[in-house]
Symmetry: C2
Subunit: 200 residues, 2 copies
């Protein structure tokens, strides 16, 4: 019987930090049944290929608002007329089952979660340098310079919150960053207060 409680791991980083790629590499190379990625709920329409319960829980605006009223979100926010939120039930059920739960979330949401959950561990993924960040944001070439500049300003604000995080990892190479993220998860599992039910 696994009575160990899992750890809530907040993962943030500015747009262009490569946190999504790091997370993908982490799950490919080091994923195990004891670590889950939190699935967000959203009111936006599913895009092609997106699967309900995997990419998001796709729910109606009415359901979302009901969940807000019933305090069933760890955090929620609205962007472009759509709601996005982290359902508490997914997180807490997995933690109680001894699984670590990774919450990939932008900085503003992360700060809210840290306030609510002082048992959470937070990891910030940093691009190798400010110059490299700009290069990555420009390199995408999917957005206008105006949007890119907004992203850079946003990234600067996000990085100014770095010291509120437990750990940070510089994403020089994705393999190395994923390995470091793995070390953090392994070490957190070895914390004495995470192994309270251990009997000698």
């Amino acid at each position: 019987m696994n009575k160990r409680r899992g750890t809530l791991i907040i993962l943030s980083g500015p747009s262009g930090s490569g946190k999504g790629t790091v997370l993908k590499n982490f799950f490919e190379n080091y994923g195990d049944k004891n670590v889950k990625l939190s699935v967000s709920a959203t009111t936006r329409e599913p895009r092609e290929g997106e699967i309900d319960g995997v990419n998001y829980f796709f729910i109606s605006k009415t359901s979302f608002e009901k969940m807000i009223d019933e305090d069933k979100f760890l955090e929620w926010a609205s962007f472009c007329d759509n709601f996005y939120g982290t359902p508490l039930s997914f997180v807490d059920e997995n933690l109680e089952n001894g699984c670590d739960v990774i919450l990939e979330i932008e900085v503003q949401g992360a700060l809210k979660v840290m306030e609510k959950r002082n048992d959470a561990v937070s990891v910030f993924i940093l691009p190798p340098s400010a110059a490299e960040l700009e290069k990555r944001l420009i390199g995408r070439q999917t957005e206008s310079m105006d949007v890119i500049e907004k992203r850079i300003t946003q990234a600067k604000w996000e990085i100014s919150n770095l010291e509120k995080y437990t750990y940070f990892v510089v994403n020089d190479t994705v393999e190395d960053a994923a390995k470091k993220f793995k070390a953090i998860i392994d070490a957190e599992r070895l914390k004495t207060d995470k192994q309270k039910d251990f009997e000698f």
Copy 2:
């Protein structure tokens, strides 16, 4: 320039936990120039093959007492008419140079160090089970049952202090335990407050 400050890592475990073997395996497989093993000072005579400055700093009783008076030990104790102590200078110089310093020390000494240094991280190595611990202690066959029983009582007291440690590692296999110890060291290096001098 490396302005990063290292971490003081306290490593304890009862006699028979295999902490020495874990440490040896760790240094063989994962040792790097940024992690040092603290060298104790002692007034006892060097045994055959022991090298001054490697196994111990072999010093006279007068020198040892002078160092006590000058508060130059992180902790010290006497066993069987000999003094043993951890020279502060070795520890602090290495930490200031950005190296992690591992202090392999019995529980009583470890508790003293934890009180003095709340920046220290502590790791307890546990044998897989109480039965296995007894087996290992008896298996040595170098001591009488009387001595073994004293060791078991001592081990029980030591293990009762487990919750005062930051982390604990069950030494099921030495390779696995060394790998876990490595993850702890890697994760500690990624703590935000250990990378304060990082400039983005």
